[in-house]
Amino acid sequence: MPEITTAHYVMLSAALFSIGTIGVLTRRNVVIILMSIELILNAVNINLVAFSNQLMNMSGQAFAVFVIVDAAAEAAVGLGIIIALFRNKETVNADEIDLMKW
């Protein structure tokens, strides 16, 4: 079995990022679109921590903490928007929210 290098982690991260992008682009349910965004942010974190491990530098892990803070803020505001949306339009499907579409 060949040794596990940083390139392996970057490839895993690219695959996870692509799965998240597929989720954002294809699903209709807004809650699952938000979950896909969490997948994308986790892919970024894997990259940061893998390079932090290779370069022996703490900056990557510090940035990963900031990404987690961003993910928490984004989830709180996004889920608040979903509740407001459901109260007004009674739907969670992204393609039925077309009030401002021409």
Binding site: E3, A7, L12, T21, I22, M35, N42, Q61, I68, D95
Partner: protein
């Protein structure tokens, strides 16, 4: 060399857990099942952090992501009535186009990584250490990145206000 075999085994098992959980997350019909599979993926990522000498981040991942954000998700799923949405079409009309475009991007990533993987080794490892992990993380956050840390706390405050304001019945 048993250690390198064990390292490889760890990586591949965690990779299967992460990618399998991610694929199940974006394909399930029921949003609660999606959330549970997302927890599986996040646990796999936490294991990967342990493998990469980031013990503090692994703990933060489990506490903040699995303990905080996922509970928030499940709370909203219970609050919003998703039974109607589970019976409807799950993917939008342009899903095939989106799938093809994303797969093209993935193949592109894979191609460039295959060709360029050797160049990662050129980067010299720095002089630093990762070993008393929590201590070094505290130094990084409270000395080197103090201003971004304060800005992050301000961002969280604004996000709390925004979430409360959004979820209020009447503004």
């Amino acid at each position: 060399m048993p250690e390198s075999i064990l390292n490889g085994l760890f990586f591949y098992v965690l990779a299967v857990v992460i990618l399998g959980g991610a694929i199940m997350t974006i394909t399930r019909r029921n949003a609660v099942h999606s959330a549970i599979w997302l927890v599986v993926t996040l646990m796999g990522v936490a294991g990967l952090y342990l493998h990469l000498n980031a013990e503090f981040l692994a703990a933060v991942q489990i506490l903040v992501y699995i303990g905080g954000i996922m509970v928030l998700f499940l709370f909203v799923i219970m609050l919003v009535n998703l039974d109607e949405a589970a019976k409807q079409r799950q993917f939008n009309r342009q899903w095939s186009l989106a799938l093809i475009c994303t797969l093209v991007v993935l193949v592109e990533f894979g191609f460039f990584l295959m060709r360029g993987a050797g160049s990662f080794a050129f980067a010299e490892p720095g002089q630093g250490a990762l070993k008393p992990n929590t201590e070094l993380m505290a130094v990084a956050l409270f000395q080197d990145y103090l201003l971004p840390f304060e800005i992050a706390s301000l961002l969280l405050l604004v996000a709390i206000l925004g979430a409360v304001l959004m979820a209020k019945k009447e503004i």
